[in-house]
Symmetry: C2
Subunit: 192 residues, 2 copies
């Protein structure tokens, strides 16, 4: 079950470095060192450093959007769907810390190159998911009618994903705890 090909092992090592130091600040030598091999040997597994991030980002995105699609297709009421989408996102931060961090830090810049154009598409797709959920929430009466849904969308998206900067997997707060607390703030506010 925890079978991992050498390729996957190397990708994981690279992902941790990209997430921590940034893509550009990580050299192929850094990756090779961390893997205990020489830099040239990496090219037996991958075409280039670029193709390494590419593979890391695209496979993560595929998994995440599969989860969103499941929620949208479900039969829960609007509020439950919104909660589920938030929970799935925090779960992704827990399970795919490095991938989320890389996406957060590098997507904007990488997205300017042809090879990574799919990142912009995914961004649009994500917006569609959240706006659908929020609009259903408003029209069902679960959410306030005076909300600027576009702004609320950005608020949710940003707050959720930026948590990758401080969330510690295995720390005091589980991803369930964080999601609970966050939903409380989002849904009911912080005032008495």
């Amino acid at each position: 079950m925890a079978e991992q090909t050498r390729r996957e092992e190397l990708l994981q090592i690279a992902a941790e470095l990209f997430a921590t130091k940034g893509f550009k600040n990580t050299t192929v030598r850094d990756i090779a060192d961390a893997a205990g091999i020489l830099s040239g040997s990496l090219y037996h597994h991958f075409d280039s450093k670029e193709s390494m991030v590419d593979e890391i980002l695209s496979s993560f995105q595929e998994e995440l959007f599969g989860a969103y699609a499941g929620i949208l297709a479900g039969t829960d009421d609007p509020r439950a769907k919104l909660e589920a989408a938030v929970r799935v996102s925090f779960e992704a931060i827990d399970h795919h810390r490095d991938e989320v961090a890389i996406f957060q830090n590098e997507a904007d810049y990488l997205g300017t190159f042809d090879r990574f154009a799919y990142l912009a598409d995914r961004n649009q797709q994500s917006r569609d998911v959240w706006l659908t959920l929020l609009r259903e929430g408003v029209s069902s009466g679960a959410l306030r009618k005076d909300l600027d849904v576009e702004l609320v969308y950005r608020f949710i998206r940003d707050t959720v994903w930026v948590a990758v900067r401080w969330y510690q997997p295995g720390g005091k707060l589980s991803h369930h705890d964080v999601a609970d607390q966050y939903l409380t703030i989002l849904l009911d506010g912080i005032t008495t």
Copy 2:
């Protein structure tokens, strides 16, 4: 009044590039090109590329923390102080877009070097400011007693600063509008 030394002009050009492409992705040639001079000429004004970000970040931080200090020292009630801190932050995004973006994107990594150790200090200082405001809010009865103030602090900090990624100075929403909407969500939640 809008007098700008050549030095400041060059820093502004560099800041825009650092904010858009990232520090490492911006070469001294990029900066020189944008300024209409050759890369070697930049070294008449600055020691190194590093000292350019350094100057950009440190002067911005100084201004921002001056504003926070003013709020803390004031006589407003806790809730008004919290609102003021949020407003000052969105204002900073409006007035110092590039600086905020650079800080958001690069501070974590740059902070690992001695030269930028002050970034970690400022981070701690910022935490003190917000925790003070939130605790005063809770003990005065303005904020809910069941809040995890540490978590709320991180949510506020992250949401406020990450807005630099989408906020458009001069766009449809002014920084006042964004602050209003954000405070509404934060204080009262999005449910009916």
